[in-house]
């Protein structure tokens, strides 16, 4: 019955997570990609160049452009020319952006909390270790 393969389970659970996350982000006016970028900038705690941010998110720079466009339009980040290298663009969190990053972080925490509610802390740690191991083989 519950004979779902690992690959299928991973897909289903991941989609479920996104679903809960999206719902919590709607009131913030963000989509998951924007929230993820905001989080990364908040975690870095300093402006990142487009390539650095793309790398952090593991997407290609081209895919980052519309994300940063949207964030800039909402006044959450601004682009600045990198004084050290004028080819580079620094993505700088505004004060509003920093506050929003915090709210996005909270939304994700809640979505994760709700999804993994059935697991004990031990089980979550186990799951985290297993996924980390899988992820690590590609770094």
């Amino acid at each position: 019955m519950g004979e779902k393969e690992l690959a299928e389970l991973l897909h289903l659970v991941s989609r479920r997570l996104r679903h809960g996350y999206v719902h919590r982000l709607v009131p913030l006016g963000l989509n998951p990609g924007q929230a993820r970028a905001l989080r990364a900038l908040g975690a870095a705690d300093r402006p990142l160049r487009m390539v650095q941010l793309a790398d952090e998110l593991r997407i290609v720079p081209r895919s980052l452009t519309p994300v940063v466009d949207a964030l800039e339009e909402s006044g959450l980040v601004r682009r600045e020319v990198d004084p050290a290298n004028r080819r580079s663009t620094l993505v700088v969190l505004t004060d509003a952006g920093r506050a929003m990053a915090e709210r996005a972080r909270e939304a994700r925490r809640e979505a994760g909390e709700s999804l993994f509610a059935v697991l004990s802390q031990d089980q979550r740690d186990q799951l985290s270790d297993l996924l980390s191991a899988v992820d690590a083989q590609f770094r």
Copy 2:
């Protein structure tokens, strides 16, 4: 360093899986959604109605329409009116479709195998149990 949250890890690993899967499906002329539908039909081992198949895949019927369109165009399935209820459409695997479902299953097995290669069989079972538990709370 590896301080990624569970939610983030899940997202990254799931994306990685899709990536490997997509690559293996390209030579078959399938995308993951089509392959998933084909698998479900193969597993059911009997024609399914659109709603049943959508339900199995956990997507809305509208999202299934273009998937079945593509499969039909490739001669892998055909639509038949359900004699028992003329509102319903039965999605029937052709012989070619049945063979392709098998190849898709193999492609997914390989993608999973490659992704989870770093895990022992015990660890895979653990991971499977944990994800099943998370998934089960929504059924």
